[in-house]
Amino acid sequence: MTAIVTNDLRFRYRTEAPWSVDGASLQVEPGEIVLLEGKSGSGKSTLLRVLAGLAPAFHGGEAAGEGLIAGLDLRTAQPAEIAQRAGFLFQDPETQVVMAEPLRDVAFSLQCHGAPAETILASARTALERINAAHLIGRRIDQLSAGERQRVALAAVLAPEPAVLLLDEPTAQLDDDTACELVGELRRLADLGLAIVIAEHRHDRVGHLTDRVIGLRHGSLVPPNATAPLTPLAPVTASTGPPLVKLDRLTAKRGDRAIVRNATASLQPGQVAALLGANGGGKSTLLRTLAGLEPTPSGHLVVDGRDLAPTGAESRVPLVAFVPQDPGRTLLCDTVHDEVLLGPRTLGCDLAVAEQLLAALDLVHLANRNPRDCSVGERERVAIAAGFALSPQLLLLDEPTRGMDLAHRATLVRLVREHAARGGCAIVATHDLDLARACADCRWLLVDGQLETAGEAP
């Protein structure tokens, strides 16, 4: 039996709106891994939601055409019924969580699939082990890093071993080792007969193990574009004078625990550092401390000659701007335009810069839209534009490429390099080595709470 068959499948969120999925005719066989490729907002996540039966059930809108998934008719089957045969991984692992603890959360999937009670906890543990996440058992999910949460979400989807897997950016927040293991595991499952559809911008991670690539443009299935890695831009010649940014024996804490100890490093004007390290290694904690959102228990952060360690975030802007991980959840304004201009208006920065950023990050057509009606990638770009719009001396970006297609990643690289060319510094925490190579000229590596620095590009 073919795992997925659709014929002229259509979906739109509002009547009169353009179709978000427009006449998709698709066939996926058991054992096949299909990669969906397309720009942010091209309809990849929506197509996966329609295949999972979640749209229009949870999002309203209008569906047309026909489709079968694991033998179930999309027009008549209930979403929970489809979920018994097709596992769905949400783009944002935050939205996937049902329980408060990893083992219970994975067990919940097995409970919903009617697995025998005596096997559930052992199976849940095995699923977490397969995804390198057994050490998270017993911790609170809301206190895990984004990458750790993504591992738990993946384990919860894989545990019941459904016939079809629909995965929306499964490696976006995973470190390289875990992503590599996940992709190997997916290939193994496909070889056992599972059909897998993956929407993923990181072709470098999954492309080599997929059987077929399908492109999506404005909701329509099209032949895929050839993808190329990000081109590193010419590095800016860093000045040889005093450093613009200096970390001096700085400690970063999460709660009562010191996560990063005695970090010492510096950046010359025009230098960009890629902050690398495993999931849960303290990258976000370090950036939050540098931004002033966490207190600095000891050590100094000097930017442009000022010691910022005793000050909070509100006193550091616009000298320091921070785009946190998952910024789309905490946008404040009713329109994209107002969101990007909020900081510049408050701080008296040049509004023209903000307007230029809206154009550079392809947000003009969304300017009057509520950010909550935007896709994950679009929200990410809104937050990035809001960060750049402050024209800071030190820009901190935490995993900025989630949900972002190659073209927008290239735009981000260009913006970072232009920021450096103006004499600014940036620290980019990322698992995306392609991005790190393209935009950074030095590497900061976090290992066991110690910051190791290296001058060469990552």
């Binding site: 979640l54 025998p116 408050t346």
Partner: protein, 188 residues
């Protein structure tokens, strides 16, 4: 104005009482118990279990965004009120979004397809017993009030006696919940 205050007080009491309950009882076990005795209400329990922590986290995140946009530098009570007011709309939008998210997540995991395995649960701990006892007593009081004293109205009027009674009862519920939550060690 009075009507708004009463409605707001009711909502705040419900949120705080739920938060106090969940400081004592493990949310996962509460949800599992609800799935067992009232499967269709498990979503409500799941939403309630996550309401207070996620509201707090979202409020923190939004406050951080305000600081990162440079609007957190103002000091004083008026500035605090202005900032607090500014957070209300995105916070409400965020909690509504999360409501949809969790119901979608539960269904995407297969909940509601009719085959839910029950996991053997360890016996309730002392703090959970207190929480559930408080919950049952609160429920009984609510039923008695609804049947005998103040029947449920979809669009209640702001009657002075009923309003005062509601405030007193809300205060008592809250007080008991906070004392109970504070006097017992919470689960990790």
């Amino acid at each position: 104005m009075l009507y708004g205050l009463v409605a707001g007080a009711r909502l705040a009491t419900a949120i705080l009482a739920t938060a106090a309950f969940l400081r004592l009882a493990d949310p996962d076990r509460t949800q599992a118990l609800a799935s067992r005795v009232a499967p269709r209400s498990a979503l409500t329990v799941a939403l309630s279990a996550r309401l207070a922590p996620t509201l707090r986290r979202d409020a923190n995140g939004l406050r951080e965004t305000l600081r990162l946009r440079g609007t957190g530098a103002e000091r004083g009570q008026r500035a605090a009120i202005r900032q607090g007011t500014r957070l209300i709309e995105p916070l409400v939008a965020s909690s509504l979004e999360r409501g949809i998210d969790i119901s979608e997540a539960m269904v995407a995991r297969g909940y509601g397809a009719g085959r839910l395995t029950r996991l053997p649960e360890v016996p309730l701990q002392r703090n959970e017993q207190v929480a559930f006892l408080c919950g049952v007593v609160g429920l009984l009081v609510a039923v008695v009030l609804l049947v005998g004293v103040a029947p449920y109205e979809i669009y209640p009027l702001a009657d002075p006696i009923a309003t005062s009674t509601a405030f007193v009862l809300a205060g008592l519920t809250l007080g008991v919940s906070i004392v109970a939550a504070g006097s017992l060690r919470t689960r990790p």
